[in-house]
């Protein structure tokens, strides 16, 4: 913060800044920074932070199916959630879903980013095609894949038949042990553009000289990747993992549109189950409790992960 005396040099009345609290005092040239930040702060507080407290309060209240609060019940909603077998199924599936989608995305995005960093004919086109899923709404992607995986008329079964890999009509969406992996695959596919972009950013920020030095010293391509690229890319991999975990953990449309958590609740993850409880089954209290638990899980993950990553260095 700059003193009021300097502000007066710019034709500001010197007395005014001195009586203002420090955070509203004009900076050097007459624009109080907090005044610039204030609208975003207010809007985010009203629409992101306040609803969060509403949810915490709901999770501790007895809520009627129509949403009236009927008094404080302490941990009853949490207890109800923890006694619900569907919750544990959804929790377990959420962990698999998050680990599989984020893991698969990072593993595929890495070579993709490395290849896109090379100079080759048609690179611009390849980049555009690989970025395309980013422009597609998750709900739309889910619809397109749902139709592609249609048992009788879908092109996936059609292609498999033409390749001689299957004879009958596989009912992909009718059973959890095929539907859930399909959903994971779709999740990976739509997460690749963002992740590959982060990796490309990391790769393009790397100094080229060290690679030349490594080549002069006779390092093979694999060695260069293992001992130069991977360590230098580490911060970008970390960012990609943390951001993807937050996004994927909370990813709603793919599972909601493709299977609606069914058949028989066997593809629900926490976020779809909470939504079903809140708006389908009329149990807002337990739904709010699940939302709070989910936030706690994400927060715990982020803290532990960032902490673990900081240790070795």
């Amino acid at each position: 913060m700059v003193s009021a005396g300097q502000a007066s040099e710019q034709g500001q009345p010197a007395a005014l800044p001195r009586i203002l609290p420090p955070f509203l005092r004009p900076a050097r040239h007459g624009l109080p920074p907090l005044l610039l930040v204030l609208p975003s702060l207010l809007l985010a507080t009203a629409i992101v932070v306040y609803p969060f407290f509403v949810i915490v309060r709901l999770s501790l209240s007895n809520v009627s199916p129509f949403g009236q609060l009927r008094g404080f019940v302490g941990w009853a909603n949490y207890a109800a959630v923890l006694a619900d077998p569907i919750f544990y199924g959804a929790l377990w599936r959420t962990l698999i879903w998050t680990a599989a989608v984020v893991g698969g995305t990072v593993l595929i995005s890495m070579p993709v980013a490395l290849v896109l960093q090379q100079e080759f004919y048609g690179r611009a086109i390849a980049r555009i095609v690989i970025m395309l899923p980013w422009a597609l709404s998750l709900a739309m992607a889910a619809i397109l894949w749902e139709w592609s995986f249609n048992a009788d008329y879908g092109m996936i079964n059609g292609v498999l038949r033409n390749l001689g890999l299957s004879s009958g009509a596989i009912h992909w969406m009718a059973r959890a042990d095929t539907a859930f992996p399909v959903e994971i695959g779709v999740g990976i596919l739509v997460s690749i553009p963002f992740t590959a972009t982060i990796f490309q950013g990391g790769l393009s920020s790397m100094p080229t000289e060290i690679y030349e030095a490594a080549r002069v010293d006779g390092a093979s391509g694999v060695q260069q990747f293992r001992y130069l690229t991977l360590p230098l890319l580490k911060p970008f991999i970390q960012i990609a993992i943390v951001l993807n975990v937050i996004y994927v953990f909370n990813s709603f449309p793919i599972i909601w549109v493709m299977t609606h958590g069914g058949p028989d609740n066997s593809t629900h993850i926490l976020v779809t189950y909470a939504y079903e409880l809140a708006f389908g089954l009329g149990r807002p209290g337990p739904a709010a409790a699940i939302s709070v638990l989910m936030l706690a899980i994400v927060l715990a993950f982020t803290m532990v992960y960032l902490h673990l990553q900081r240790e070795p260095t």
Binding site: I47, V48, I55, A135, P253, Y275
Partner: protein, 281 residues
């Protein structure tokens, strides 16, 4: 020259499985949309229609009331872009150019809001909107309510990306203007903002696409058909229907996604550049 050719072949081979998977649903979408109803449900399925037909387009346009839906999507997306930019541009300028004591805290606050996605807060958002009186009822089932929510959830990303861009704009140009007697506010308006237009445009694009594609908030907030967005209307053609007219659904999906995909493809280079700048910071 020959080496580059060989490398190109290898690169395309490595990428080909992914490229096939990316293009697969688009191909299914376009070809299904161009099939007449009788061919959609024919066994075994074929890629190309036997008879090319555009009949599914006018049919779904009626079915999904797509004209109204597109209008709603445009209004909601544009509204949320304006809102997000109005609050994010000044904030990003402050973060990039000015020193203030609470800056680290402000950044942390933005980060925390990023960890609270709309779907996690949806019950709270719904109740908050229901508690705010607007017109005859509340903010639930209004486009304004959705605009406010979309705008607010774009703030963190917009400030992050814009401030990265703004830091890259050389300070000297503005400082030269001050020396010439231009006040700080005028310097920002006449010198800084014109230079920042590309960054703001990219940011607007991201926010627009996010609003256009959003599903959960629209699903929860918009009850009346005449207020629903394109994404919602198209999903409604499938969700909970006993028999789905897939060629109409695919025609609607084409109309809803292809324009966005084209704009996105044209501008993705800038997007990658912007994210790269942001990631390096």
């Amino acid at each position: 020259m020959k080496r580059k050719l060989r490398r190109s072949v290898v690169c395309w081979l490595v990428l080909s499985p992914l490229i096939v998977l990316v293009l697969f649903p688009y191909a299914v979408m376009v070809f299904t949309a161009l099939k007449p109803t009788s061919e959609v449900m024919s066994y075994p399925p074929r890629w190309l229609p036997r008879h090319w037909s555009f009949a599914s387009f006018p049919a779904m346009w009626e079915q999904a009331d797509l004209g109204t839906a597109i209008m709603n999507s445009v209004v909601i997306s544009c509204g949320s872009v304006c809102l997000a930019l109005c609050v994010a541009v000044p904030a990003a300028y402050a973060v990039a150019r000015l020193q203030f004591r609470l800056k680290p805290r402000y950044r942390l606050f933005l980060l925390v809001t990023q960890m609270l996605p709309p779907v996690l807060l949806i019950l709270g958002l719904f109740r908050t909107a229901a508690a705010i009186p607007f017109g005859d009822g509340s903010l639930v089932n209004t486009r304004l309510g959705v605009i406010l929510i979309y705008g607010a959830f774009q703030i963190a990303f917009s400030v992050w990306m814009l401030s990265a861009y703004f830091t890259a704009i050389p300070r000297d140009i503005e400082e030269a203007a001050w020396i010439d007697g231009c006040g700080r506010v005028r310097a920002v308006w006449h010198i800084f903002l014109p230079l920042a237009v590309p960054a703001i445009a990219v940011c607007a694009l991201v926010a627009f696409v996010a609003g256009w594609n959003e599903y959960v908030v629209a699903l929860t907030m918009l009850r009346d058909r005449d207020k629903q967005t394109v994404t919602l209307q198209v999903v409604n053609l499938v969700a909970g229907r006993y028999s789905v007219e897939w060629n109409q659904v695919m025609a609607a999906t084409s109309v809803a996604t292809l324009p966005v995909a084209v704009v996105f493809a044209a501008l993705q280079r800038f997007l990658v550049k912007g994210l790269t700048l942001g990631a390096v910071k």
